[in-house]
């Protein structure tokens, strides 16, 4: 039997994986965007689970908003990446450390 806590653990794991993806990935910025997307999906799972188990529709509404915002974020993220690429012709995260200290 799959209970709510299974879902919750699942989404928490998903979240952890996506976060791990952010700091383990040292090559490409695009992967970052994917991880971020995954992270938001983990949150979505949570909302849906709660919404389902409490018979309340608001959680699912929330998910729609999150999805919409995530799309917008991806767009902006890509835009930033494009401008970054234009300047330095590379998407390696390793090279982005001019700001430090």
């Amino acid at each position: 039997m799959i209970t709510m806590s299974h879902y919750l653990v699942f989404s928490a794991l998903l979240f952890c994986i996506s976060v791990a993806g952010i700091f383990i990935n040292r090559k490409n910025i695009l992967l970052l965007l994917m991880s971020i997307e995954l992270m938001l999906l983990a949150v979505n799972t949570n909302f849906i689970v709660f919404s389902h188990y409490s018979n309340d529709i608001t959680g699912q509404v929330f998910v729609f908003f999150i999805l919409a915002v995530a799309a917008a974020e991806s767009a902006i993220g890509l835009a930033i990446i494009v401008s970054l690429f234009r300047i330095r012709n590379s998407l390696e995260i390793n090279l982005i450390n001019n700001l430090k200290g």
Partner: protein, 477 residues
């Protein structure tokens, strides 16, 4: 009934509506050659219009708008007007800078207004969804604003860093929201508070709060979630830095207030200790990092980290729902930091790029007045008497001592002494050293008057602080 509700809500929400519309208008205006040069004026006009119209609809009692997804009361209005004030100063001062960096455009101001709007929504939100949207509205605008200077190496880097980290923070907050929703079954913050008051605090509830406040800590740039701040300060165009340093802080303070007000979580030992610890840690990290900085913006950033720590300690000390200390601290800090960054913006130009603290050498001999303004501002940040910053630090210490946390007060105070050093270093470069770049343009009567507004009020409020205190204490307790 619904229609009536909506119209009533819209009327109460009219400043935001104006801002929204005007930002669209400005965006459009920017695309026409003939109107392009008026975008700045339009922006100023729209902000002034919004604030003036808003005054008409001020009332002392609290309103719930749009099906209680937004709140309008004294607190929100107070902070909004502070934001208006700050925002106006920022855009007026930044005009010259933007012109010289070729950044003036419709989208710039439009996005800036959107960011402001996002912060207003955070301030007013009473609903997790609206709150989330507010956060994202301001963040999304800021991502693009930071990256706006497309030719700049550093801007893009700052943007990507801010983008990634900020989304992590948003996700953490959202994760907390999801638990909160799961426990209480509601996304209305008042309902959640009600729920918490009626039920015992479960571990999950605590976790959700911890998650949310880690997100808040990120937005405040409290250590160890502060890394983005110095990079953004350094990389972003100065007007944007100016915005990020001040208005979101105010917004997120109200966010924190909304979540903590009347909430039993504040008495939870683990939670309050977390806040306290984060605050202390932040003061440590901020001051120690700032000490070694050579670049002025990074130094200000780390000083911001230290001050964020103070804000957290002030939140911690909000015993018996007394958020006034934190509110005062946030206000005073935002105002002073805006003053500091505005002065730096004013001094920066294409010909003279103010990056290192060294670059301020001998400013006093070139323009004593501006040096004095900057000195007053910095002393206020350091919390020396004769400035409003003194009261801010005073109140925090007072609260700590009242709670009998003398040792913590002493540690905090010792770190302030460390912090004093780097503020004094700026002052000594300005006053005691010689050799200021003569190319600097320190003319501009109007800008100087605007610049002196905040230092003057810093000094004046020091002399007659009671009105401010009374008002803040009244609305927040």
């Amino acid at each position: 009934m619904i229609i009536h509700n909506i119209t009533n809500s819209l009327i109460n929400f009219i400043p935001e509506v104006i801002l929204f519309t005007m930002s669209m208008v400005i965006l459009l205006a920017g695309t026409f050659e003939c109107l392009k040069k008026y975008v700045f004026h339009l922006t100023v006009l729209s902000v002034i219009a919004a604030s003036l119209i808003g005054i008409n609809y001020l009332s002392t009692d609290s309103h719930l708008l749009f099906n209680s997804s937004l709140i309008k009361n004294n607190i929100t209005e107070f902070f909004k007007y502070i934001c208006y004030f700050i925002f106006l100063i920022q855009i007026v001062i930044s005009k010259e800078y933007l012109k010289q960096n070729n950044l003036i455009s419709g989208e710039f101001y439009s996005l800036l207004i959107f960011a402001l709007l996002g912060c207003f929504i955070i301030i007013s939100a009473n609903n997790l969804i609206v709150l989330f949207l507010g956060i994202e509205l301001s963040s999304l605008s800021l991502y693009s604003l930071i990256a706006l200077n497309r030719s700049s190496f550093l801007s893009s880097e700052a943007a990507i860093k801010y983008f990634v980290l900020s989304i992590i923070a948003s996700a953490i907050i959202l994760f907390g929201f999801s638990y909160l929703y799961g426990i209480s079954g509601s996304i209305n913050i008042l309902d959640i508070t009600k729920y918490a008051n009626n039920n015992e605090i479960s571990n999950l509830y605590l976790f959700s709060y911890v998650l949310i406040f880690i997100g808040v800590a990120f937005k405040f740039a409290v250590a160890p979630f502060h890394m983005w701040l110095p990079d953004v300060y350094e990389g972003a165009p100065l007007p944007i830095t100016n915005f990020i340093a001040s208005i979101p802080k105010i917004a997120f303070f109200v966010f924190a207030f909304r979540f903590l007000n009347n909430n039993p979580i504040i008495d939870d030992e683990n939670f309050s200790k977390l806040i306290l610890f984060l605050g202390m840690f932040s003061i440590f990290i901020g001051n120690l990092f700032a000490l070694a900085q050579k670049k002025i913006m990074r130094m200000l950033a780390y000083s911001g980290v230290a001050n964020a720590g103070f804000i957290f300690i002030a939140l911690f000390s909000a015993l018996e729902n007394n958020f006034s200390i934190a509110a005062f601290y946030v206000t005073s800090y935002s105002i002073t930091t805006v003053s500091a960054i505005s002065i730096i913006t004013f001094l920066s130009s294409k010909k003279f790029n103010l990056i290192y603290i060294n670059d301020l050498k001998g400013l006093a001999s070139k323009s004593g007045y501006i040096a004095i303004l900057l000195m007053v501002t910095l002393l206020s940040t350091a919390g020396i008497p004769l400035t409003i910053g003194f009261y801010a630090k005073y109140l925090v210490l007072d609260a700590l001592v009242d709670r009998n946390l003398i040792l913590i007060a002493v540690i905090v105070v010792l770190m302030t002494v460390v912090g004093l050093y780097y503020y004094l270093r700026v002052i000594w470069f300005m006053f005691f050293e010689t050799g200021f770049n003569s190319l600097i343009n320190t003319s501009g009567k109007f800008s100087i008057i605007i610049l002196s507004l905040i230092p003057a009020s810093i000094l004046l409020i020091f002399l007659f602080p009671d009105l401010v205190f009374k008002y803040i204490f009244e609305i927040l307790t």
